[in-house]
């Protein structure tokens, strides 16, 4: 029958003469436990060393009568490797002490009990050795797992930080060192409080994860580097639980979004520039009209002034004549003055001068308003979420696009009372502007050369913890086969130079970043309505559990 237990390899080192160590009982006992036992009998320390190199040895039994070789074996194997059991036929206490001192695992004396004791000692030593080896291999396995684990952490593209419940870093990787511009030695043990601030509301994501067990996936955040600069990152953060289910920290995985943020800003900027190009024409036209008559009026007023000077010089002439007291001269200069006054038409001139000044004042007031509208519209974007009145956003956008469309469009505004929302106002204005310009262009296309006007309905209302803005037009409508592509980047049905194909895709992204939705309804030949829903909180990509 095949033995079921482990193979056990024992080396017995003993002199050829006299009586050999009696291992029979030991072998029998081990075999009784189901082990396969192999015993190699050798006579010198050199062979023991060789055998230990070549094979896994579980136990070395040495007869003390080997003398110098016995000492040599103990020297080599006493402190490490398989246990060495010394068999001493004489059995003196001093010899046993000496053997232990040299590293023997045990020492069995000769005598009556020898045959009974040896198997017990051997089995105990093998058991201990095996246990030690098993622990060793478990430790090796753990070391191996750790190595794989470290490899993964070190070679992943994303930065990784593991923190304990106190927010202290317990593990990190090179991308984390790079993004944070701090070496691992500085990172380990450092507190991360305040390092991860979500874009907009500034919430500390790691702290929230540790406190409320909230997981974040792909949230946008700013991270503070050692030098105080802020880096935009995309971060996923989750609590870590041990086997017993108690939370003992959090893991944060994040990527540097500087480049992506830059590209995205560039794309937004491109889109904005294209829209501004369209706006500029409208605004310039709006400014050009009052500018046109103010300009002409100033020229006219200069002429009026010249006319009045001529009259005044005749008045002075008359005054001089009166001073001289020559009646004839007085009569002549008075006649000249009267003729001049009639030619210049002083009463008309004075009245019209007042009118020209009033009209010019009104014109310049209009220009001032346009500039104010522009200023409201392009109000400095801080890059932070701002609690905003959406109706104001809508109105300043409508004011700015109005000039470009007023000759073709009737604009109906219906703003209801809506809750203020946390948002990036400039980005939302860009969306509204885009929708309004699209609506206008759809109307323009529908009217063509036929004349007449179209209508745009601009509304806002409160709904489900948010605001719904709708822009409806009476334009050409969208072909059903295009409807599911209108939010794709670079998709456009407009003529080259009119549409960038980025307007709606940019709008879509802006609304999504606000945690909102944008939907469309359209009928060819009737018109199109876009609806934008914006939640009050504006939380983006939060996965709370």
């Amino acid at each position: 029958m095949e033995p079921a237990g482990p193979a056990i390899h024992i080396i017995v080192a003993e002199p050829a003469q006299p009586a050999p160590v009696d291992l029979l009982g030991t072998v029998a006992a081990l075999e009784g436990l189901g082990c396969e036992v192999r015993v190699a009998v050798v006579a010198d320390a050199e062979t023991v060393r060789a055998d230990c190199r070549d094979a896994e040895v579980d136990l070395i039994v040495v007869d003390r009568r080997l003398g110098r070789d016995c000492e040599s074996i103990l020297e080599t194997h006493g402190d490490s490797g398989p246990p060495v059991v010394v068999v001493d036929a004489e059995g003196s206490a001093e010899a046993a002490l000496d053997a232990f001192r040299r590293g023997a695992a045990d020492c069995v004396s000769g005598g009556a009990q020898y045959a009974d004791v040896l198997p017990v000692v051997v089995m105990e030593q093998i058991r201990r050795w095996r246990a030690v080896q098993e622990r060793g291999s478990a430790a090796r396995l753990i070391r191996e797992l750790e190595r794989v684990h470290q490899n993964i952490i070190h070679n992943m593209n994303s930065a990784l930080l593991v923190v304990d419940m106190e927010g202290r870093i317990t593990a990190c990787n090179p991308p984390a060192e790079q993004i944070l511009s701090r070496p691992e030695s500085e990172l380990r043990g450092a507190h991360v409080w305040g390092w991860f601030k979500r874009t907009g509301d500034g919430q500390d994501l790691v702290a929230k994860t540790l406190r409320d067990d909230v997981r974040f996936k792909g949230a946008e955040s700013l991270i503070t580097r050692a030098d105080g600069t802020l880096v935009p990152i995309g971060i996923s953060c989750a609590p870590i639980f041990d086997a017993a289910g108690s939370k003992h920290g959090a893991v944060a995985i994040f990527q540097d979004l500087s480049e992506i943020t830059q590209l995205r800003n560039q794309m937004l900027q491109n889109e904005k520039m294209a829209s501004i190009g369209q706006l500029a024409a409208g605004v310039a036209h709006e400014i050009n009209n009052p500018m046109g008559f103010i300009h002409a009026n100033l020229f006219q007023m200069a002429e009026y002034l010249a006319d009045l000077r001529r009259v005044w010089s005749d008045v002075e002439g008359l005054q001089k004549s009166i001073a001289r007291g020559d009646a004839e001269e007085i009569r002549r200069t008075a006649e000249k003055l009267a003729a001049m006054a009639e030619d210049v038409d002083v009463p008309y001139l004075l009245t019209d001068l007042a009118t020209a000044i009033r009209e010019s004042q009104e014109g310049s007031e209009r220009i001032r308003h346009i500039v104010q509208d522009l200023r409201d519209f392009s109000h400095h974007e801080t890059g932070q979420r701002v609690v905003t009145d959406i109706n104001q956003c809508l109105d300043s956008t409508a004011n700015i696009v109005w000039p470009m469309m007023k000759h073709l469009v009737v604009l109906e505004k219906k703003y209801r009372d809506v809750p203020r929302i946390s948002c990036f106002p400039m980005q939302l204005k860009q969306v509204f502007m885009n929708l309004l310009v699209n609506a206008f262009q759809a109307i323009e296309e529908r009217l063509g050369e036929s004349g007449g006007t179209g209508r745009i309905d601009l509304t806002s209302e409160a709904q489900d913890d948010g605001v719904v803005v709708s822009v409806g037009d009476t334009g050409v409508g969208i072909d059903p086969k295009h409807l599911d592509r209108i939010f794709d980047p670079f998709f456009t049905t407009k003529k080259v130079g009119i549409g960038t194909g980025l307007g709606l895709s940019t709008s879509f992204n802006i609304i999504r970043r606000h945690g909102g939705t944008i939907t469309v309804e359209s009928r060819v030949g009737e018109g199109t309505t876009f609806r934008v829903f914006l939640p009050i909180s504006g939380d983006d990509d939060v996965d709370a559990n």
Partner: protein, 127 residues
Amino acid sequence: MTRTEENLPRLLILDDEAGILSSLRRALRREGYEILTFERVEDALREIELRPVDAILTDHKMPGMSGMQFLKSAAELRPNAARLLITGWPEAIPPSEIAELGIRALITKPWDDAKLKATLRAVLSEP
């Protein structure tokens, strides 16, 4: 100023901007024209329908109807009236359409008074 009003060349000006009309009237007041100004396309067309005019000066970008569309209708009613366009963006109007409508002059806003007067004089002195 010896001419009676009936003998003065009749100049019709159309612009949706009252300030522009007032300013044009002011600039041309000593030019010896009978000046008729209108803010609405319909009113201008009615006047043209009722009585002949010698010249028509119109803005381009107006609510409801563009200056070009207006001139087309005016040309049907009074083909002999000289047609002039005043606009902030003359380059936005295709030259082919200008030729097709027989537009005699394109005047840019803001305009230069002296040039405007000279243009009108030239246009109105030609048959």
